[in-house]
Every structure is written in structure tokens, then in C-alpha cells.
Symmetry: C2
Subunit: 236 residues, 2 copies
């Protein structure tokens, strides 16, 4: 468990009033945390058009994971009550926080996703299941995050979830009136209307968020986590 790869202050003798002050550097590793938590870490990267349901699905998956992990005293034989540690990164906490200095130019969009990728990687390192909900329309940006994660040598850690809803469905939903504004030219470079959306070519998961019930979509994502051994299966 002890990782001395970092600096060691070693034996610094006769400093001030104390002698033999040994400050050894030890670290808790991701493996230690996985073992303690009884589940692994991963990034669920939800991508899709505005209105495709990324944020809603991510939140519903997060809620399901959280509720599954609540203690169930009536069923001690079940592993369903292993607490699952997950967190969502989305527009609310990113665009209004760390990325509030970024606009919507091409350069800023790339930087937006770059930072999100690195933040997601930190949560991964902390042993968490991190869910991200951003349009992230460009393949190259998503690929950059995948490479960043893969560099660490873990399998199944980057899970691209394509929220596949047709433009027609998303535009009909248009709960924020953004498509209407984009059609009228009030919003420029709007994904799907005046800026391209590059659908994933080989995503780990495709969820038909345009025509499927939310619960069914959540089932699909959670089952994937079980199948890959990232979270324990519910027993009984």
C-alpha cells in the first residue's frame, strides 16, 4: 500500500529542537481505494445532441447507483448494499465554475473538454464512478479524453455512452427553446443546426434516448457496469 515513488524527506537530523525527523512519503493508491470500496472506478461519458437526454440519463444512473448502495438491513446476504461512489460533472458545475472563463469559440470548446477530461481523470484516480454530460460533438475531443484515460493502463475505464436521439425528437422537445433560437439565427454555431455533431463510431454503449423509457436506459447502463465487473452484481 505504501508508495514511496514520491520524494522522501528522509532523515533530516538536528533541525531545530527535534532530531531524527523522518518524513516518509506514502500514498494511498487507486487499487487500495477499489479494494476498500468494493467497486472500481470509471468514466461514463454521455454524448449527444442538446435535448437528447444526457444530463437526465446521467442523473438517473447516478441516483440508481446511489440508491442501490443504501444499507438494506433486511437482506444481509445481498451485495446490493455495497455503497457505490459516483459523481456527475455537467454544465451546472463546470461551465459555471472552473470553465466560467471559456466561451464557445472552437478553441474554447476544445479547452472546455480538455479540462473536463482531466477533472474526470482525477475522480477516476480517487476511485469514483464519474458521469459526464456534455454535448461534446467532436470525435477528436472525446478521443483525446479516451487516450488520457487509457494512458493509465486500465481497461473499461472510459465508457462512451452515445445518447442517440434524432434531431427531430430533440428539436420537438426543445425545453430550453434553444433550437428555436438557433433556427432563427439568434444562437450561432448550434450543434445539429449550424455546427456538426460527430456521432461516435464505436461507443461502448448506444442508448436510444429518443424512443425509450428512462428506466430502461438506466438499466442498460447499470447492466454494462455489472458485466464489466466494475460494480458488484445484485444478488437474489
Amino acid at each position: 500500500m505504501v508508495d514511496d515513488k514520491k520524494e522522501t524527506y528522509g532523515e533530516v537530523k538536528d533541525v531545530g529542537n527535534a532530531t531524527n525527523i523522518a518524513w516518509h512519503h506514502s500514498s494511498v493508491t487507486k487499487e487500495d481505494i477499489h479494494k476498500r470500496n468494493n467497486h472500481k472506478s470509471c468514466i461514463l461519458w454521455f454524448t449527444g445532441l442538446s435535448g437528447s437526454g444526457k444530463s437526465t440519463l446521467a442523473n438517473a444512473v447516478n441516483m440508481r447507483l446511489f440508491q442501490r448502495g443504501m444499507t438494506n438491513d433486511n437482506d444481509e446476504s445481498s451485495t446490493a448494499n455495497v455503497p457505490l461512489h459516483s459523481y456527475i460533472l455537467d454544465g451546472d458545475n463546470i461551465r459555471h465554475g472552473i470553465n466560467q472563463d471559456l466561451g464557445f469559440s472552437d478553441e474554447d470548446r476544445v479547452e472546455n473538454i480538455r479540462r473536463i477530461g482531466h477533472i474526470a481523470a482525477l475522480f477516476l484516480d480517487a476511485g469514483m464512478i464519474v458521469l459526464t454530460a456534455f454535448v461534446s460533438p467532436f470525435r477528436s475531443d472525446r478521443e483525446q479524453v479516451r487516450q488520457l484515460v487509457n494512458r493509465n493502463g486500465y481497461q473499461h475505464e472510459f465508457i462512451e455512452v452515445f445518447c442517440d436521439a434524432s434531431l427531430d425528437v430533440c428539436e420537438k422537445r426543445d425545453t430550453k427553446g434553444l433550437y428555436d433560437k438557433a433556427r432563427k439565427g439568434i444562437i450561432k454555431d448550434f450543434t445539429g443546426i449550424s455546427s456538426p455533431y460527430e456521432a461516435p463510431e464505436n461507443p461502448e454503449l448506444i442508448v436510444n434516448t429518443g424512443e425509450t423509457q428512462l428506466d430502461e436506459c438506466v438499466d442498460k447502463v447499470v447492466s454494462y457496469l455489472e458485466e464489466k465487473g466494475l460494480i458488484p452484481k445484485v444478488v437474489g
Copy 2:
């Protein structure tokens, strides 16, 4: 590219093959996570000169918290085995990751700490105890992070830990040879030598990392967390 806020898709009827697709948006709150985890979240912000022991102390505190949380089957009456969820942000994972685009100009130093503050706030939101180990020499930068955290209305969430070691001690340690290079002018604007360190005026904790054993320093930090009710006290 539009970011999804907390919209509710509500009742989108007669879309595609499905009817009555209700996509309600629900979120797991920080309070939910605190209750589940049996401990609260906070930021332990270690600040001090290079060589003062910030990173070593932060890692030792993190290890202590982790080990305290390991299951202890022989002592079921103890609350010591509540798993404590903590994570360190330091130069290794920040400067080489999300902030690899930043140098050491005044502007970049401010941006470095701004981003770290926002990332720490995300971990806070995820219910974690986050430890940061950066020189962070300027009061205004640390104050900015404190304000950012306080905006959320929680008490005791930002804990400034002053790693108080004299320049003399730090320079004698000089494990990375940085002071030597700074004295020779090879490194410019080095904190303590050619750039100021503004010591905290009212830190939550002062730890004498220059003249105290590491274990004793760790005790002081962990006791503080217990006293403020952020983590359960060890019983028996």
C-alpha cells in the same frame, strides 16, 4: 454546443414509437452523500514554503484517514471503521495534468490556484475530504478559494493548514535542490528567496512542520476534523 442544465423533459408524448416518455430530472445531493458516508466533506488546504512538508503531511493525513476506515471485524462497537473518503490534489496530478498549460508567471500562478480551488470544490460537492498541497504563497489566492467554498454556505469546509517551517529548515532540507538553484539564480521568482510567501493571518490550523514529528502533525489535523464534527470520533 449547449450544456444541459437541470431541465426536466417532462411529458414528451407521441415521440417516435413510445408515448408518455417522462424524463424527470433528479439529483443526489451533497447532504445525501454525507448521510450515506457517515462523514462530511471539507478542504484541507496545506500551504507553506517549498520543503515545509505540505505534500508529505497531506499524504500522511490521507493515509491515516484511509487506514482508520478499514474494516475492523474484531471491534464492531467501534465507529473507527467508518470508511473515510479522501483525495489529494498536488503538483503531481495537477501541474502534470489539467494545469500543464500553465507556467509560473504571476498570471499563471493565479489561474493555477483558481482552477485548483474549483476542482477542490467539485470534490467537496462529491462528499469527499480533499487535501491540497501547493505552496499557494499569496493570501488573495487562498482567500479567493475560501470565498468560493463559503458561497455554498457550509461552515468548516475550508480549512487552511499553515505548514510552518522556517526558511532555514526548508533550505537545509532542499531535497529537490531547488533552493540551491534559486540562490544561484537558475530558478527565478522562487518563493522565499526571490518571491514573497505571505503567511496565513488566521489559519484554522498551524502545524509546526519544521520541528515536530510527522505523526504528531497528523494527530493535530485529524483531531481538528473530529472536533469540528466532520468525521466521527474513534470510540474505545
